[in-house]
Symmetry: C2
Subunit: 257 residues, 2 copies
DNA sequence: CAGTGGTCTAGACCACGCT
DNA sequence: GCGTGGTCTAGACCACTGG
């Protein structure tokens, strides 16, 4: 009866395509509210469940965001830029006049936003890949500083730093609060990091990450693991950052010589 | 009647949690096949639709993969490592004995896999952010080399390189095939790239990327944009790489001095 | 062919956010 | 209270994969 029926492509997909086009066209702008499910169901002459299936696909693609009672809106992305290669550079700290806080906070403030971080210190068995990078045995305990970083009081990223216990025993790094020293706390303890290795993988968040960071459906994360080595080539610190894709743009500046 | 009913958490979520735990526990290993929907529906005493909802959530998290007629399996991740900071380094090419192919192919081969790439050359109006990085006007035409790269004949990543038209007019870079020169083709044309800026964002793939790369649901991508500058600080090339998260691990090695 | 996931419907009730 | 999305059911048919 209906010509759209029986065609090769399923209805949910046809509807998703149409809506997707409206969004990429710009006819639906970021922040715009979509019609309620019931109205769309009437418009496209399908059941509410079918409309929901189409909308769910677009949500999983990161194009839409739903909230009960308020409706669905087109998602807006305004990632802050994170200048990775400037991090941990003493040089940069000195150039910047050393404002008395870490590079992350400085970087955020420079983009006109307000940084804050919660810190928690634990002694744990490290995850396998962290143990590997730190060069400790799988059962050896390590100290981890877990930070939740906020921008304008909205959760922004998770950053866990792992240290060998002997390295930080009795130092300010064992205190569950924001610590800072010119050039970095490790440097002030006599440990100079001369080389970094950074690993980055892209994946969907775990359930825990999703709730800690308040991530809407369809938001992937970058897991950035930075290992710092001292002058002897011994690993000093492993830092694992969980960075949601909708809030982050990473930038490296490289001078190969 | 049923004690699980009416509890705070929806059934789909409870079921998803249980299955997720089986996977993270290791009771369900990567590659394992799940019971069919109907069996699970019986087991958990819910309708098939409810089971499907739970399974869909896990699929969107990247934990499961479904195919019609074959069932659902637990996803396995075996990303290849991509040594970013070695790329485009003439130094590295010379050290490696310069095998007569680009750094990507060399890197893939070194991990015991077989690289291949399809190349297509087009003249287009560049996307806004590319025009910006290349330093051309929004209506100015540019040359783009579009590559689809395969590893063991499986699509691996998309890599589009943009050049100003005047730069590559009449050079081998206009040919739609694999080109190579020691130190890079640009270098052999007298254009030395001395500085790189890399931007990386994490997002869900577009529909086109999903089909071109054959991405299963729940697979995010990294969009890596590398801009190369010549000795005068003028942008020479912008390369945009779309790298699926399930196939990539990026590595940078940095020596801040 | 049997077994599997994919689509679709009609109808019901619930939970949240706003005014 | 009303409007919104979220959950859930029962049942039907289709489309792909494999033996």
């Amino acid at each position: 009866m209906d010509p759209t029926r029986g065609s090769a492509r399923p209805l949910r997909e046809q509807i998703a395509d149409k809506l997707r086009q409206l969004i990429t066209n710009g006819e639906l702008q970021p922040g715009d509210r979509l019609s309620p499910e019931e109205v769309l169901a009437e418009q496209y002459k399908v059941s509410r469940q079918t409309i929901r299936a189409a909308l769910q696909d677009l949500t999983a693609e990161g194009l839409l965001m739903a909230s009960r009672g308020r409706g669905r809106i087109v998602r807006a992305y305004k990632p802050l830029t994170w200048h990775i290669s400037r991090y941990e550079s003493r040089h940069h700290h000195e150039e910047a006049g050393d404002p008395g806080e870490d590079q992350w906070s400085t970087d955020v403030r420079a983009q006109g936003r307000e940084p804050r971080q919660d810190v928690k210190v634990e002694i744990v068995e490290p995850p396998a890949h962290v143990a590997d990078l730190l060069g400790v045995g799988p059962d050896e305990l390590v100290v981890v500083r877990r930070r939740i970083r906020y921008v304008d009081e909205v959760p922004y990223q998770l950053a866990d730093s792992y240290f060998r216990e002997t390295l930080v025993q009795g130092t300010p790094l064992m205190q569950p609060r924001d610590v800072y020293a010119p050039g970095g706390v490790l440097a002030s303890l006599g440990h100079i990091q001369t080389r970094y290795v950074e690993d980055l993988v892209v994946r969907m968040p775990t359930k825990g990450e999703k709730t800690q960071l308040g991530l809407p459906a369809g938001t992937p994360v970058a897991e950035l693991t930075r290992t710092g080595y001292d002058t002897d080539g011994k690993p000093l610190r492993v830092m694992v950052t969980i960075a949601p894709g909708d809030r982050h743009r990473f930038r490296w500046e490289l001078d190969p010589t």
